[in-house]
Subunit: 291 residues, 2 copies
């Protein structure tokens, strides 16, 4: 077995190589002057089982095309089996036709992955696990809840876990149970056209003196978390920590979260988080356990 | 029959709609804050024959992913046949393994196109026509030589057609014959690692008083054309015009060409050429004739 590190790995390829004691080969890559990617797999992999690590955070389209190029090359070079570890899977929020005629983007991406030779797929915290059924090979879903729970326990004094919407409740509950904390959720609504979010109903809870921990799968523009943070303070919270598996933090999201009163931001290395003041959890251990 | 204009068309969708008298529907698209593309085909196309126009110039990876999303959506919406008109086909210069383990990028791109539902493919001036055999559907290759010849005749007084390397000779000869001009070619060498180009052997020709027209398929960094321009002047040329079907003009290529003495630059709308001082030929007429 061999691990191949793609063009976007955030160190997960190296961690997995150490944890699993499997040799690592890094893909050779460059960007041509015109913007096209060059890919080379500099190792003989004939009849090998290959674990390819390639996340698809921003720039998603470049990372996806590179994933397709690497995967088909691995197949063409004669690998016996190819498992793609895609810690953050782009386009997973467009998982159905919300309006007639829309692309079901995640279907196309997963369909292509199968066609370029990916036999197995490992995804960390997919937006909706059921959407992954568009992938026809072997599937593994990684929930890095244990690693997140440990980090929360380590740095938050009296945590109250709050899911920023009903879809995030199951995740919040599991993490709350692991650290024996209370939990609840907020009802929100999203306008599909404007993307705007508003709180539908405030939960009937008292957060007086609590260190509220908001947990979501993705924080993108931060709109949902900003509103949830304000609500948490209005219900008496002492502090707010925001946690997301995939911390996209688009544009000035980080500043907006800070302004709203988020004291601590926690993410994972499924995304290339560059800010030094964000706590980044390495999810490699959770991935290794799933393999 | 219906024409669908993708996210990158440079007006070719509109021209084709007029020339062929076929209705045009523009894809609805936007970029989400995180950088992902949103695609919607806002029209019923069940049992229709669809001509989809989408070029894949810079940013190539975004335009390719959008092409894949649009194509699969068109198929899923029940189109009878899908022909993709891809005026500039990205990744065509990586058409084989120059070194062991390299991705054959154009193979992967053409393979994916077939898998997302493209039955027919129309490409303008592919880098090597034989590489298109990786596409398993119906294939049409468009050489806009007639349109280029007319433009040269219109604006160059006493043209001498010069191919900047042997691979470009056939194209140069065809265009020269159409306008009854003399032609020749230059022998060049390219270092595969550095990408550097040098002239191997100067042709034994006298260009005294001639208006030299250098014609290539692609001008990217302009290195080849800069060297050919200098050579043309050293052989007595009065002026140099540079023509390419696909005028990528990466970085400061335009400035370098001007400095070397290129008086006029001619390209086509397979690429989004934004400069007002570049003559841009609309290739829609040539595409229409091929359909």
């Amino acid at each position: 077995m061999i691990i191949i590190g793609g063009t976007a790995t955030n160190g997960i390829d190296e961690s997995l190589s150490k944890i699993l004691s499997i040799p690592l080969v890094k893909v050779e890559s460059k960007i041509f002057p015109d913007g096209e990617s060059y890919i080379r797999v500099p190792s003989s992999i004939r009849n090998e089982e290959v674990l390819l690590v390639q996340t698809t955070d921003y720039p998603q389209d470049k990372h996806l095309i590179e994933l397709f190029l690497i995967a088909e090359t691995i197949r063409d070079l004669g690998a016996k089996k190819l498992t793609a570890i895609v810690p953050y899977l782009a386009y997973s929020r467009q998982d159905r036709r919300f309006k007639d005629g829309e692309a079901v983007s995640i279907k196309t991406i997963l369909h292509i992955l199968g066609e370029v030779g990916v036999n197995g797929l490992v995804v960390v915290e997919p937006h909706k696990p059921e959407e992954l059924s568009y992938f026809k090979g072997e599937l593994k879903i990684v929930h890095p809840y244990h690693q997140i729970s440990r980090k929360i326990k380590e740095i938050v004094e009296d945590p109250f876990i709050l899911a920023p919407d009903r879809g995030a409740l199951d995740r919040a509950r599991k993490i709350a149970e692991e650290i024996s904390a209370q939990y609840s959720y907020i009802e929100k609504e999203r306008d599909r056209t404007t993307g705007e979010v508003r709180i539908k109903e405030a939960p009937n809870i008292n957060l007086k003196g609590k260190d509220v921990v908001l947990i979501d799968d993705i924080i993108s523009t931060g709109g949902t978390i900003v509103q949830a943070t304000r609500l948490a303070y209005s219900l008496g919270a002492r502090s707010v920590t925001a946690v997301a598996v995939h911390l996209l933090l688009v544009g000035d999201a980080k500043e907006r979260l800070r302004e709203a009163g988020v004291k601590t931001l926690i993410g994972t290395n499924t995304i290339n988080v560059k800010d030094k003041d964000i706590i980044t959890i390495d999810v490699s251990q959770s991935i290794a356990l799933s393999l």
